[in-house]
């Protein structure tokens, strides 16, 4: 049996890769993908917990997370399309309208 720790470690590593990707990339598309990466890493750990704790709640959570991820992707990409139509830019450092 694979220890549960391994799954959590894997999940954490992928999550952090997602965080780093979100932070360092300029392209909003990649940033959105990094978000998906983070969500998926959480899903992995939830499914692992669900399996090891013999409780379905984790998988139900994953179900909902996938739902929210789908909604998030749809909205995020729609915003991106609208943004591109107006600004013709997908790089975050070119879009600093909210600068104080």
């Amino acid at each position: 049996m694979v220890p549960l720790d391994w799954y959590i470690g894997l999940s954490a590593v992928i999550f952090v890769i997602g965080v780093v990707g979100f932070i360092i990339r300029r392209n909003i598309l990649i940033m959105l993908m990094s978000v998906e990466l983070m969500l998926n890493s959480v899903n992995i750990s939830l499914v692992a917990f669900s399996h090891y704790l013999q409780d379905l709640r984790g998988q139900i959570f994953v179900f909902f997370i996938i739902t929210v991820a789908a909604a998030e992707a749809a909205i995020g990409l729609a915003i991106l399309v609208a943004l591109f139509k107006n600004k013709a830019a997908v790089h975050t450092d070119e879009i600093t309208e909210m600068k104080g």
Partner: protein
Amino acid sequence: MDKYLLIPLLPLIAFTINIIFGKGIIKERAHWIAILAVLGSFAIAVSTLIEVLNGKTINYDVYSWIVSGSFKVTVGFLIDQLTAIMLIVVTSVSLLVHIYSVGYMHGDKGYYRFFAYLSLFTFSMLMLVMGNNLLQLYFGWEAVGLCSYFLIGFWYEKKSASDAGKKAFIVNRFGDFGFGIGVIMIFLTLGALHYTDIFAKVGTLQGQTINILGYNIDLITLIALLLFCGAVGKSAQIPLHVWLPDAMEGPTPVSALIHAATMVTAGVFMVARFNPIFSLSETAMNVVALTGAITSLFAATIALVQNDIKRIVAYSTVSQLGYMFLACGVGAYGAGVFHLYTHAYFKALLFLGAGSVMHAMAGELDIQKMGGLKKHMPVTYWTFLIASLSIAGIPGLAGFFSKDEILWLAYNHGTIGKIVWLMGTAVAALTAFYSFRIIFMAFHGKFRGTHEQEHHLHESPKAMTIPLIILAIGAISAGWVGIPAALGGSNAIAHFFEPVLGHPHVTAAHEEEFMVMSISIVAAIGGIFVSWIFYSLKPEIPKTLAAKFKGIYTTLWNKYYVDELYGFIIVRPTKWIASNILVAVTDGKIIEGIVNGVPQAIRNFGERLRKLQTGHLQHYAVSMAIGLFVILTLVLIAAGR
């Protein structure tokens, strides 16, 4: 709906309709609604009086407003003998003044507003007198004050009018402050607001003292004096009398209704209503009696030399109110309220008569510029004469019976009573003098005004003269309900009031009563006679007297410099504090400093903070990641321990 509720409600409805629709729809028809409402109230008041005469007393709560623990505020009605008489006085005078106003205010651009305010005032006054608890009284008390403010400053474009309104309001604040504290103290000590509860429990306070700044003060005396504070303000007694003469800036019907017949008597009504409290404190009673007597004398002397017709009548009002307090102070509450009742008619008549004169003289108020008006406006003359006779205390007329009752009961009240009796008798003589001074100067002799004014002289319209006639009837006959036993009457009104107001025990014989009566009659006739000599027979005498006693004359002419005194000791320091401390330091430095400084500080802070707002998405993400890092570290540290 029960009919008692309708008494105050009808004027309120009239007010609401007039204030909302007056400007657009009703306009010149505003009086119909107001008059009909007051007429309805009057009719119900009469039927209520008949019920009360048959021995019925009404006391019930209509509506619970606030209930919080033992604190319960209700709207309720207590209609006993006192209230019934007050209802008649308020509604009848109000009705007549409403009718009179139709003629007097004709063509004014604030016509609907005037009637709306009159209705509101009537409602407030009725709430005041009908209330069965202190808070409702207080509500009415403040509401009539508000209406008085509105009506004094009715012609608000005129600076003197708006100043007078403010003055009335501010001076009243002083009295109401004491009154408010009195109300609170009653609630704190007795835990009750309803009259019946208060009067049932007030006995338990006897002998209790309260420590204020090291002095032990009798609790009942304190409460009584605090309540009397309110009465002093509202009823224009010394030292808070200054607002009432100035209040004559308002329209004359207002002066008649509010500043003669009803509102200013609210103080007397209140003292009479709380007679169970006042009666328990000898000190408070003496204060009331002396304040009344001094005010009475004081105002009467001022009235001697004034030339403004409305001012003379106003000082006369102050004087007569002092009379009523004098009565209350010697325990003769019934006599006081009796005088209130008769006074309402003849004083309203005097004011309305003065208004009628003003109407004819195109707003001229100085009696020195009048004269010989008798032949131009006979109705006004005769009604004014009746009112003057009545106030002077000529036997048979209303004023005589009530004044005589007061003097007689004062005379019977020990040393203090004797002192105030003397003062009261003197006032009677002075009253007769200055009342007839108006008669002789304004209505007799030659016209001293301009030719144009003379040409313009005319009798007032029916809407004005009819109320005068009705009030004249009242001024003659209102006292007949109180013909004393010594004159073969039954003094019905005293017996009527006895269950509520009590009746001082009089042991003296009828002979003594005749003696007192004759002295006052002599004083009255003497006053009239002197007045005739001075102003009809030898008009040069007053001038020589004025020249001879120049000091006294100017003092009286300047109303004992009370206004100037107040100006010096209160108004100027207050203004100085206001401009030099409050405006300059508190407002200018402290409050402005805070008000401007806080946003300035936030702005400065924000200016720096917004540098953080780079607009780069990643920077926000990094801060979130750092947050995650910190939280994880904290959790680890916590778990490690």
